[in-house]
Structure formats: C-alpha cells, structure tokens
C-alpha cells in the first residue's frame, strides 16, 4: 500500500539506505494500536526531537459502512445500529435517530416518553463524561481517577440494565416514544445515583483539579479559539471551552428540554484545562436536569400512534441533538418506502478530530496525547 502522498516522504523513501536516524526529523507512527488513541486512530507525527512539526490522521480502521447498512434496513431495524456509532453514548445516538424519523413522520411523542428520554440521555451524558475523564486523566499519567469514574459509572449502567435490558448498546428508544415504562423503583434509584455522584465529582476535583502537575500539563495546551471552532465546525464542550455559550439543548430545544432550567458552563482560554472544567460542570448540570425530570415525570401513554410498518412520506429532515461529544446531527432522506433512502450522520468526533492538527502544531509529543484526550473522540463515530 504505497502512500502516494507528499506527507509520507519520510527519509526511507527520500534517501533509501539511510536509516531514520540520519534525518533531522523523525516520522513516528502513533497508532492504530496505541495505548492513548482512544480506539483505532493512527496519527503519523513528524517530530523535530520532541516538537511536533506536522501530523496526519489516518482513520477508517473501524469503518463499518453504517450509512450503507441503513439503506438496506427498515426504519425500525436500523435503530440498534445507531447505538454502535458512539458506543460510549449509545442512548444519545438512539434519541437523535428517533427524533429525526419522528420529525419526518410529523408525530408528537407523549410527554412522559419525552421526560423518560431526557432522563436516560442525561444519565448517558454523565456516563460518557466519566469515560472521558477516566481515559483523559490516564493519558496524562494519573491512573486512579479511571477506577473512581468507572465505579460511579457502574450505577448508571445498572439503571440502563434494569430499564432497557442492556448496559452499553442500549437500543432504549423506539420511533414514536419509549418501549418500556419506568420499572418500579426507577425514580428512587436515579435519585440515589445522582446523590452518589455529586460528591464524587468534587472528589475528582480534589484529586486532579488542584494538582499542580495536572494544571501545568493542561493549561495553555491545545488552545482553540472560539472563531477557529466555528470555522472548523467544532461543537460541544470544545466550543464551550473556547467561550462560546452555545448548546443545542438551549439553541434548538428538542424532547421538552425547554421545561428544565440548567445553565451552560463556558471556559475562557479554550485550552485543555477549560474544557476539563466545562465538562465537570456539565456533569453537575446534567444531574440538575435529571433531578428536575424525575420529579416532574408526568403520567400518560408511552408511544405515539405509529404504524407497525413505518413508511414516512418522501422528504428530508436534519435533526440535531447535543450529544456528549458535540452536535450530533441526522440528515435523513425518505423516498416514501419502508427503508431509509439516505441516512447521513453528522459525527461530532469526526469533525472535532479535524482540529487536532491546528491545536497541536508546534507543541510536544506529550501534548498530542493530552489533546487527543480532550477532544474526547470515539472512533466508532469517527469512522462510522
């Protein structure tokens, strides 16, 4: 597989016979099997000693062709595949797809189903942020927060398991509402989970936020200004970390998010430390939303009137939601048939990953690892 691209002209190709030690710069391969690339991402780094001169991301190792599969499944059958996109935040993917198809069908989801969806999506955001926290801090060297984060995440997975029968790829929602009602003891268990996690977030802060090594490793690293974010299409905690107060749940409210009041944390300098603080604050806000949603859970039906064999009228819709990684969008085109004509997933990780080169140029190798962590990418979503 010859790389016919100028970037790969490492020394071997330019002057065969001379080893990589003779050249002034070092082309090293980080990934696809590497401890800190959060999945099968291969980054080809051009180093001058420790400084990064340039990098090229090679992705596609986890490409399963989800969008092609969508064209060969019926609308309801494609729902479980959507969980496999960002497998850490499966519930949010499911919510996005269901909302898109419901918009196509112009169907109104009952209030109770909307509240249940909000509770589960926010719990999933918490779980996703905990996975991010664990792996991000592990890449920078502290091994312990990973285990604390996963211990807290276990409670959330327990709720998912009891509610929809699976921990990770939940397939929790159906087009038109929710399939299961809240199992008895659901409210208490969710409240207990929230009460358990709030002091734990403070404990992460105690262990990491104050730590001078952490502050030195993250302050001023991987800076991305607000305008760069907008130009590159970077959304989610990355954008908020850069000081832009924009969240799809507030800008384009969906699934009755406007019933809850929560605020959007923003950073100032747009560096790794600000994004870290933004995500921690987001976890607290999610808990606030969950508490309001659980208290206000209305009675009522769970499913809207949706025919068994869905045949949405021909047309196209773009529905986006605030996934833990950023703005997750579904551009769905229907030709009136039982199968989607085209499902395009707007993957936040894929678009955020584009900013890696801009954030890391000129920094050190250790910062590449820190920036990949702060991007919070999941390769299932990058490669689709």
């Amino acid at each position: 597989m010859t790389q016919n691209n100028k970037f790969y002209e490492s020394v071997e190709e330019v002057a065969p016979g001379r080893t990589f030690l003779d050249s002034s710069e070092l082309v090293i391969n980080m990934g696809p099997q590497h401890p800190s690339t959060h999945g099968v991402l291969r980054v080809i780094l051009k180093l001058d000693g420790e400084k990064v001169l340039g990098l090229d991301c090679v992705i596609g190792y986890l490409h399963r062709g989800v969008e092609k599969i969508a064209e060969n499944r019926t609308w309801a059958q494609f729902n479980p595949y959507v969980d496999r996109l960002d497998y850490v935040a499966a519930v949010s993917n499911g919510l996005g797809y269901c909302l898109a198809v419901e918009k196509l069908l112009a169907v109104e989801v009952p209030k109770r189903a909307q509240y249940l969806r909000v509770i589960l999506t926010e719990l999933n955001r918490l779980a996703s942020h905990q996975v991010w926290l664990g792996t991000h801090v592990l890449d920078i060297g502290a091994v312990t927060p990973l285990f604390y984060a996963f211990r807290d995440r276990e409670l959330i997975l327990e709720v998912f398991e009891k509610y929809c029968g699976a921990r990770l790829t939940t397939h929790a929602f159906r087009i038109g509402g929710c399939r299961w009602d809240a199992y008895e003891g659901f409210a208490e268990e969710v409240r207990k989970t929230c009460d358990f996690i709030v002091p734990k977030i403070a404990e992460y802060g105690e262990l990491i936020t104050g730590n001078r090594i952490w502050v030195e490793r993250t302050k001023g690293v991987g800076v991305l200004s607000g305008d760069d974010c907008k130009a590159l299409g970077v959304t989610g905690p990355m954008l908020r970390g850069a000081g832009v107060r924009w969240d799809v749940r507030k800008a384009q409210p969906y699934s009755s998010y406007d019933d809850f009041e929560f605020d959007i944390p923003i950073g100032a300098a747009g560096d790794t430390f600000d994004r870290y603080m933004v995500r921690l604050e987001e976890m607290r806000q999610s808990i606030r939303i969950i508490r309001q949603a659980v208290d206000g859970l209305p009675e009522g039906p769970l499913m809207a009137k949706v025919p068994k064999m869905l045949k949405p009228p021909a047309g196209e819709v773009y529905q986006n939601i605030e996934a833990p990684k950023g703005e997750l969008g579904y551009y769905v085109v229907s030709d009136g048939g039982p199968q989607p004509y085209r499902v395009r997933v707007r993957p936040p990780s894929f678009i955020n990953l584009q900013a890696l080169e801009k954030m890391v140029k000129g920094q050190l190798v250790a910062d590449v690892v820190a920036v990949i962590g702060t991007l919070d990418i999941v390769l299932g979503e990058v490669d689709r």
Partner: protein, 224 residues
C-alpha cells in the same frame, strides 16, 4: 456483514413512488414533493386507521428578503426555496453554488458549516445532490443549500469559506466519487487508498472490490 445488494435492488425499484415534482423544472429536488398534486401515498398506507393521519407535511414555499435577492440576482439559478417541516432549504444550480455559499457566509453571517454531505439519485442525469447545512450563531437559524452535479462534474470546495469542510468533502469523494475543485488534499479518508469503487452509490457492488483484490493478489479471476 454487507448485505447482498440484489435483494435491495428488488426492494428499491418496486416501492419507490416517483412523485413527479412541479412540472417544467426537470431536476427539481424530487425529494421535495409537489404541493399541488393530491398526495396519494398516505391514504393507501393506513386505510384501517379510524382517525385520518396528521396532514402529510408538505414543502411550503419560503419567501423572505434573502430569497428575493437571490432570485433577483440569479433568476433561474435559484431552483427552489421552500420550507419542509419547519426546515428552510434552497436548491441552487451547481455552477452558482459557491457564490451563494459565499453570500451566506459573508453577508448573512452563517459562520458554521454544520454538515456537508451528498445524496445519490441514480435516476437523475445530475445524480449527485450535495447538501450544505449552514448555521448562523447570531440568528440561531439553520439553512440547507442543495446543488446537483453530474457524473464527471466537479463540485466547488467550501474549504476557503469554512476550513471544517476539508474532511467532509474528502469523505464525500471517498463515498461517492464526486471530486471537489480546489480542495487542498483530496484523497480517500475512510477507505484504503487503493479501494475500488465508491460504496455509498446506489449501484455499488461489494463484489467489485473482492474481484479486484483476488485478481491483484492471487492473479486469478474471482469465482464469485
């Protein structure tokens, strides 16, 4: 796990109702069903439902100051400006797509290219419909710009307006084979460099890559 395509072909031909779009505009976005024709589909789909289903959402023409200006400037170039289920979109001619994007980016303040993708309509003589989804932070509004390109034609790149379009255009090239003029580094992004064919085309056949691989590596004709 790729699914055998012939079963899909059978599915696709027999059920795809070709709702003819507004008479006279041949390449109007066939996705936007004509408002005038009496919609036949919903009645047949749910005969047993006692209550008639919600009125089938239809594309209402979208008139505003921006569309006037565009119509005034480009006349027939602006194919269609409509709003479907509350989402505004304009379909433009391929050649003027870049100017429209530039106007939207500079004057209208659409500072984020949320998404750029392509839909393949094999029946059309301009099969590739490129869709730009733009977002304006100030006005908190989304707008979709659609343009159609023929087989060998090159779409204009949006990387000079929004650098974020870089990888998205590479992916459209990788999946559909639609080249983008002026793209700094147009090569495959998800599939290996020497992959044969473009998967997301409707007429894509997975066996074509297998045969190629077998021929290249084993030197024999694939038995499939």
């Amino acid at each position: 796990m790729a699914d055998a395509p012939e079963e899909k072909k059978l599915e696709q031909t027999e059920t795809k109702p070709e709702t003819s779009s507004a008479p006279g505009a041949p390449e109007a976005a066939s996705a936007a069903p004509a408002t005038a024709l009496a919609p036949a589909a919903p009645a047949a789909a749910a005969p047993a439902l006692p209550t008639p289903p919600a009125p089938k959402p239809a594309a209402k023409p979208w008139e505003c100051e921006l569309t006037q200006r565009l119509k005034h400037v480009y006349g027939s170039g602006l194919r269609d400006a409509a709003e479907y289920v509350g989402q505004k979109y304009i379909a433009v001619d391929g050649s003027i797509a870049h100017e429209v994007l530039r106007i939207l980016h500079d004057d209208e303040g659409y500072d984020m290219l949320s998404d750029l993708t392509c839909v393949h309509w094999p029946k059309d003589e301009r099969p590739f419909e490129v869709v730009w989804i733009l977002y304006c932070f100030a006005k908190n509004t989304y707008v979709r710009v659609k343009a159609r390109y023929a087989e060998g034609e090159e779409a204009p790149t949006a990387t000079n307006l929004w650098p974020g379009a870089n990888w998205m255009e590479r992916e459209v090239f990788d999946m559909f084979g639609l080249r983008f003029a002026g793209h700094p580094d147009l090569r495959r992004i998800l599939l290996p460099e020497d992959w044969q064919g473009h998967p997301l085309r409707k007429d894509y056949d997975i066996r074509q890559q297998d045969n190629e691989w077998v021929r290249k590596n084993l030197g024999i004709e694939s038995g499939q």
